[in-house]
């Protein structure tokens, strides 16, 4: 029986079994970055470190080009990629800017434009 078609959500690719399989090596490498010594080894020699984790060519290329959408396409999960982003000096807002083709200031401004504070307190 063919698999049912995937749910289409604009600009969103839910991280499912297909992506989890495709991205395993990349995500495993990023998981190793929980340890500072591993982050330092990666920063010192990215290609050797990626080879140790058997990254695919697509994954290596996306990492070397800092191509976040390419890393997602290659199966990267954003919670794991966030650990790589930290090494590269990028926070999640900088990642957001890179993925949406905006400057960091534009990305932040778009969030601030939705600013709201709503409070309810029982006295």
């Amino acid at each position: 029986m063919p698999a049912s078609p995937k749910r289409e959500i604009y600009g969103t690719d839910p991280f499912d079994g297909d992506l989890a399989m495709r991205g395993f090596a990349l995500n495993a490498m990023c998981y190793s970055f929980n340890t500072r010594a591993n982050r330092e080894r990666f920063a010192a020699d990215e290609e050797t470190y990626m080879a140790e984790f058997n990254l695919t060519e697509d994954q290596k290329r996306a990492v070397l080009k800092r191509d976040v959408l390419g890393m997602l396409e290659a199966g990267g999960n954003v919670y794991y990629l966030a650990k790589l982003a930290g090494i590269l000096g990028l926070n999640v807002q900088a990642l957001g800017a890179l993925q949406t083709g905006r400057s960091l200031d534009e990305f932040k401004a778009a969030l601030l434009a939705q600013g709201e504070t709503t409070r309810r307190y029982v006295a």
Partner: protein, 284 residues
């Protein structure tokens, strides 16, 4: 008899932990979020709970994708936060409550749930940030921890319906616990946000208000959407509302909202903090 005295539901953005580490709580960007904890601090000082049962999701600190449980219950005597890749590790340990953990495990399996049990685990910002928000400073945390992790990372995720039922099973376990402690339930994460893809930065205030208005009085209203519906409505990480839904299920008494604070944006997230009192229903 133990007593579930209430619930604290809050966002757990890592940037909040960074702001705490750098002492930015009173900066204009952060203050509207941190001020939402003033009533929580007053309530905690008054209630002085002994135990915290925390529904959260792990973001790749304890669990990797090689083994990814849908529901996991900690049963360790101590838990620690560790470096998650950006160099912050909160130092205060989280003292566990293995006897209560095993009671919950026994009871939820009796209710036909099948959790993974963890006698050794580390907890990430989804536990550490809410703890730091509730009990700032350097004193040892005054509560013992039972962490309950829900998979909100790798699809298929459990349905909202399943999460509410799971939370209710935990709530029944808490009610039947003979330990006599006062228990507070946490649900962490959310509200709407999306970190990845061309829709990064997505926020949906209408859906957030729908959740805030219903999670207390009418949590069944949140069951009308599937987990993928919630991804579409709240963003791929907004689906962390599943932790809130499960935590709400664990409050089995009369649930009264004492405070609610919704603030956009914190980093890429619509942040919220809600405090509920749980008044045990007295049998007629």
């Amino acid at each position: 008899m133990s007593q579930v005295c209430g619930g604290i539901f809050t966002s757990h953005v890592p940037g909040i932990g960074n702001a705490i580490a750098r002492g930015l709580q009173q900066e204009p960007y952060w203050k509207p979020f941190f001020d939402g904890f003033n009533p929580v601090h007053q309530w905690l000082a008054r209630e002085q709970p002994d135990v915290a049962v925390v529904f959260y999701n792990d973001h790749g600190l304890n669990f990797f994708l090689d083994k990814m449980p849908t529901f996991a219950i900690g049963a360790a005597s101590e838990y620690r936060h560790e470096d998650e890749g950006w160099g912050i590790a909160f130092q205060r340990p989280f003292i566990g409550h293995p006897a209560l953990s095993w009671h919950i495990i026994e009871e939820v399996v009796e209710s036909e749930f099948d959790p993974v049990t963890c006698q050794s685990m580390v907890v990430d910002h989804a536990v550490a940030v809410p703890y730091e928000l509730c009990w700032p400073g350097t004193d040892p945390f005054p509560v013992r921890l039972v962490p309950i992790a829900i998979n909100t990372v790798q699809h298929p995720l459990p349905s909202p319906k399943r999460c509410l039922a799971f939370g209710r099973a935990v709530g029944r376990a808490l009610k039947s616990w003979k330990g006599g402690e006062k228990i507070v339930v946490f649900g962490t994460g959310g509200l709407s946000h999306q970190l990845e893809g061309r829709r990064a930065g997505f926020i949906n205030k209408d859906y957030d208000h729908f959740c805030l208005d219903n999670i207390g009085p009418n949590p069944e209203a949140l069951l009308g959407h599937s987990s993928l519906d919630i991804v579409e409505l709240a963003g791929s990480q907004g689906v962390e509302i599943l932790n809130w839904i499960a935590a709400r299920g664990a409050l089995t008494g009369d649930v009264v909202e004492l405070a609610s604070n919704y603030h956009v944006p914190i980093s890429n997230t619509a942040a919220a903090t809600v405090l509920f009192e749980n008044r045990e229903l007295v049998p007629a």
